[in-house]
């Protein structure tokens, strides 16, 4: 009976001494606070896999300013309150870089908690690296020196989507369907505002909100879309909600383009399959053509190793962190944050700039559509998103209202 405990003790000793040995190049640790279990783990696990995958490669290249990069996953079950518990755990474990992406509600809680932490502990600052919580206010009214966003926010993506619609004279009627929470409402408001400006002749024939993650049968919503006679549907749905929406649409023979923010949510392609071909559009930082052979090779080996697809912006985020650490000559959060401001980087999708004014990454965006028989399929299928249009970073950019307060 005692043996397992002795073993546990021995293992922890080995672990500790392992840490001690690497003292000359102590690892710099990043905490990923995202859903790692439960139904929403499909959006957290790929990020974890990508981070670990990229960290291994960067570590072979000397790590971040000579420190090996280590990724630690913290499961928040996509609950804002649990996220704060995990944040505290991560900080107690000595981690100073917090990565999070899924759920603007979680992002909002983390943003405020990290601001409070840095205010209460001026000698012990923490950085928040955000790769997918795209509520615009995070880099506008609520902008913070401690927050960096590595994804384009709702308005930037909508700006490009509506540009594309505006150039498409056939589109006369647009239907908006979104999840009934802050993010869904932001998408809907953004769409209405921009369409009104760019194409006042377009009629918004529907603006529906459904409960987040609770709808199992989208049929009633589909008949609404159908009867509205919409030419295009815009949705910010993610997770299960995008998946079932598209499935239902296909079943009822609704044959209009769905412009999505998260059509590439893992599981969607498997579930939707051929029903989604030429129907699901995606606005994102890259596409599924993998024209860059180096990235294509990484996609193949990541899927083979971990069973998840390549996550370009997560990879780019970690690569930028390495660059910032190397340039700052330190892994101290404050020094790294100062270097990150204005940092430029060439990633798979193009040239990236971390705008100093609001810590919003400026990046090119791609509109792509689901196709079959792709050279590099997603989720082990031969479906993937094929590029339809590319928008340069200076086209996608938007001004900010942020008045950044920097520490001395």
């Amino acid at each position: 009976m005692v043996r397992p405990f002795l073993k546990l003790f021995a293992v922890s000793l080995v672990l500790l001494s392992g840490l001690a040995r690497a003292a000359d190049a102590e690892p710099v640790r990043f905490a990923l606070i995202d859903p790692l279990t439960g139904p929403m783990s499909v959006v957290g696990q790929p990020a974890l896999a990508q981070l670990q995958f990229t960290a291994e490669r960067l570590n072979r290249d000397g790590g971040m300013d000579g420190h090996p990069i280590e990724i630690v996953g913290y499961d928040n079950k996509i609950n804002p309150q649990e996220s704060l518990v995990q944040l505290q755990k991560a900080i107690d474990d000595g981690i100073r870089y917090i990565i999070q992406g899924n759920g603007s509600s979680v992002g909002s809680a983390l943003l405020s908690a990290i601001n409070k932490h840095n205010q209460r502990n001026p000698d012990d600052r923490v950085l928040y690296l955000n790769y997918a919580a795209i509520e615009p206010s995070f880099t506008n009214e609520r902008c913070s020196f401690w927050h960096f966003r590595f994804d384009s926010h709702v308005d930037m993506k909508m700006n490009m989507l509506t540009d594309w619609i505006a150039d498409n004279p056939d589109v006369k009627k647009v239907f908006l369907i979104n999840q009934d929470y802050s993010f869904g409402h932001t998408v809907s408001e953004s769409a209405m505002r921009m369409l009104k400006k760019k194409r006042p002749d377009i009629e918004i024939v529907g603006n529906t909100f459904h409960p987040l993650g609770k709808v199992k049968d989208f049929s009633p919503y589909i008949s609404k879309i159908k009867s509205s006679g919409a030419d295009v549907v815009i949705t910010g749905n993610w997770g299960q909600d995008i998946n079932l929406l598209i499935k239902s649409a296909a079943e009822y023979g609704v044959d209009v383009p769905f412009l999505t923010y998260y059509g590439s949510t893992p599981g969607t392609i498997t579930q939707v399959g051929d029903k989604g071909v030429d129907r699901v559009y995606l606005i994102a930082e890259y596409h599924g053509d993998f024209t860059d052979p180096e990235i294509a090779e990484r996609q193949v080996s990541l899927y083979k190793e971990k069973g998840w697809d390549y996550y370009p912006r997560v990879a780019a985020m970690l690569e930028m962190m390495k660059k910032a650490g190397d340039e700052a000559g330190s892994v101290d959060p404050l020094a790294v944050a100062k270097t990150l401001e204005g940092l430029e980087y060439d990633a798979a999708g193009g040239h990236l700039t971390m705008r100093a004014a609001d810590h919003q990454l400026q990046m090119p965006l791609y509109l792509s559509v689901l196709k079959d028989n792709m050279k590099y399929g997603a989720e082990g299928t031969d479906y993937n998103f094929h590029q339809v249009a590319r928008f340069d970073a200076d086209q996608a950019t938007l001004p900010t209202t942020c008045r950044m307060r920097r520490p001395d």
């Binding site: 073993k7 309150q81 518990v85 755990k89 509600s105 929470y181 409960p211």
Partner: protein, 413 residues
């Protein structure tokens, strides 16, 4: 026992608890440990308030989180008011310390129970269970519709470092919050214990045991249930107020079925029939939840299995077990019972080990990773028959020990 020590007996548990609470910070260190302790404190109050309904009043509720959550929302809004009043220093809230927010939580919880409770308390049993389930789902779903009150998915957040500070008691770090938690837990536990000693507390036991008889002797059970319901709602709200100060955020999840289920889980695992049972349950379940989830993805499954095992094999819960041991010790025949009980514990341990190994191996097969096994320095190969033979041996040994010790216990009884 010694006559001259009789005054000591009722005081002892409280004196010892207070002593433990005061010395705890000398023993433990690190904000992480305090974070867990603080959550334990909240859950102790929550689980005890739940047991006022189920254990003492015989009312099985699936909506207790509503009062916990509303108490938390009340406290967090009050915290924001304190923050705002701090700018000009005028008004009631400018003089209200954050330390007293659990009182706001209590008021909100009790008020909510007062408003909705009357029609609910007509019947106990399944009808009560269902109507509270309905209430819980209703409030949880309805909270999404009023973002200005409930904050939508993101919830409402606030900053606890506002308002007047008494005696230099700041609430910056989890270690500071510990004192706040210790104080309120002690107050709440004492108040709930005192409640069981009041005539109302005694009557609630009578309603549980025989509502009809109470009706005949002139105490309408509905009135009694209603009063207990309000008190339990108030203490749940107090727990909610503590949670609001601890997390500085309240989300609609805190009103939902999962949170209600947590209270039920903690109370039942700890034991419904013993006053301190839910406290034991709160400690165990909270620690299990927060520690296990670091090492295994099956943590919820383990909590569920523990709960199921308690319901099936130990209806008295952990508290019931402790009470049995205590009584035997007092009677002086602990020595006679101990081998049987230890045998039973060994059997549970063996079977649990077998179960854990099975679950972790299946996880390894289906998910391809297993942190728990790696932590123990084991690299079991799920394809190897030896591993499975080992597991079967564990189960068989556990079963054998259970049979033998069971027979031993029967022979002694």
């Amino acid at each position: 026992m010694n006559e001259s020590l009789s005054w000591w007996r009722p005081v002892a548990p409280w004196a010892i608890s207070a002593l433990v609470l005061v010395t705890l910070p000398l023993v433990v260190a690190g904000n992480g440990t305090f974070s867990i302790i603080n959550v334990v404190a909240i859950n102790i109050v929550f689980a005890l308030s739940y047991n006022m309904l189920l254990g003492q009043g015989g009312m099985l509720s699936f909506g207790h989180a509503v009062f916990f959550g509303l108490g938390a929302y009340g406290a967090i809004h009050a915290m924001n008011l304190i923050g705002e009043a701090g700018y000009d220093g005028h008004g009631f809230w400018a003089f209200f310390p954050v330390y007293l927010l659990p009182l706001v939580g209590f008021a909100c919880g009790a008020l909510a129970a007062l408003v909705v409770g009357w029609p609910f308390c007509r019947r106990a049993g399944t009808a009560f269970a269902m109507i509270t389930l309905g209430l819980g789902e209703l409030v949880a779903a309805g909270s999404q519709m009023f973002p200005t009150v409930f904050g939508g998915e993101a919830g409402v957040f606030s900053n606890r470092m506002v308002g007047p500070v008494w005696f230099g008691l700041e609430l910056a770090q989890p270690a500071d919050v510990y004192w706040f938690m210790a104080f309120w837990t002690l107050v709440a536990v004492f108040a709930m214990w005192a409640f069981t000693r009041t005539p109302l507390g005694r009557m609630s036991n009578a309603v549980r045991d025989n509502a009809d008889r109470l009706q005949f002797i002139g105490y309408p059970p509905r009135n009694l249930r209603f009063l207990v319901f309000i008190a339990a709602g108030g203490f749940a709200g107090l727990g909610g107020g503590m949670a609001a100060v601890n997390y500085e955020i309240v989300t609609p999840e805190s009103l939902g079925l999962l949170t209600s289920g947590l209270a039920l889980l903690m109370a039942a695992v700890g034991g419904l029939a013993v006053f301190y049972g839910p406290m034991v349950g709160a400690i165990l379940v909270t620690v299990m939840n927060s520690l296990l989830s670091d090492y295994t993805d099956a943590s919820i499954l383990y909590v569920g299995l523990v709960f199921l095992a308690v319901v099936m094999f130990a209806p008295g819960g952990l508290g019931g077990g402790i009470e049995q041991v205590r009584l035997a010790w007092r009677r002086g025949d602990l020595g006679a019972h101990l081998p049987g009980w230890l045998g039973g514990a060994l059997a549970v341990l063996l079977i649990a080990l077998g179960l854990v190994s099975t679950i972790e191996l299946v996880y390894q097969i289906s998910h391809g990773r297993d942190k728990l096994a790696r932590l123990l320095g084991l690299e079991p190969d799920p394809a190897s028959p030896l591993v499975w033979l080992g597991i079967i041996t564990l189960f068989a040994a556990g079963y054998g020990v259970a049979r033998v010790s069971g027979r031993y216990r029967e022979a002694r009884a």
